[in-house]
Symmetry: C2
Subunit: 138 residues, 2 copies
Amino acid sequence: MKKIIFVFSALSICILALFQISKYSFISSYTSIEFIIALVAVIFLFIGLYLNRKNKNVKKLQSEEIDWKTVKKLGISNREYEVLVEISKGYSNKEIGEHLFVSESTIKTHVSNLLVKLEAKRRTEALRRAKELHIIVG
Amino acid sequence: MKKIIFVFSALSICILALFQISKYSFISSYTSIEFIIALVAVIFLFIGLYLNRKNKNVKKLQSEEIDWKTVKKLGISNREYEVLVEISKGYSNKEIGEHLFVSESTIKTHVSNLLVKLEAKRRTEALRRAKELHIIVG
DNA sequence: CTCAATTTGGTACTTTAGTATGACCCTAAG
DNA sequence: CTTAGGGTCATACTAAAGTACCAAATTGAG
């Protein structure tokens, strides 16, 4: 919202400035008015492009951001979340154990807890749930 | 590319039209020039916004579009692809069999073939590969 | 310190997943 | 007609995943 206010203020200033320029050019010559209008058109075209580019980036980030609030709400611990990420990378329990330097048994415990917390029967279902809840990246 | 040519043509026509308008308003009064400039600014601002919105939609679709060429290149058949999609939804072989009205054995065969074609050891790894290759939606 | 939650790990078990192999039917291409 | 590829299914097997239960060390908040 702050961004919008700032942008509108900037635009207002720009318009006023252009009015001042137009007054001078009005007196000076005929062709320069056309030039000013073309300039205004181009400038505001690029302003429009710039504004929407900002918007796009924000939206893209939103869809790829992780909803940590949901992670906490589900009671998923740090270690459990690490395991979840490893699962999403397609690793087996054994491989995950090697990556995190713990035994396969430990991973199995974490996975079991994750399945309960994500209300899933299988790790693939857990993956889908996690994606729906935006707690892992697509 | 056709779109870009069309848009540039339209913009050229708009600019020429505005030049004509500006000539008349130049003669008529003083305040109308400022109005025309403001109008041009607003119009081109919205044109800029519209153009980028189009762009955004295209980009979004690209990232969510399925690369059927890769599917064919990997030799994945229709039925196998259906199974792949079901896997991505987190279903078990048994459930997939029920959804596609075939036995679990058939699904196992399809999954095995998929794992070979996707160079994966597990269904979760196959999922990751499929996402990387853009042959399923994230 | 005490308590609760986290993290770790084990055993024993059941279930699901995946492999290997063979077989049958169907269809489209040669 | 023959052949290749796709789809179906089964059996027997191994591997991985998941459950249930227990237990110990660690850590952080009150």
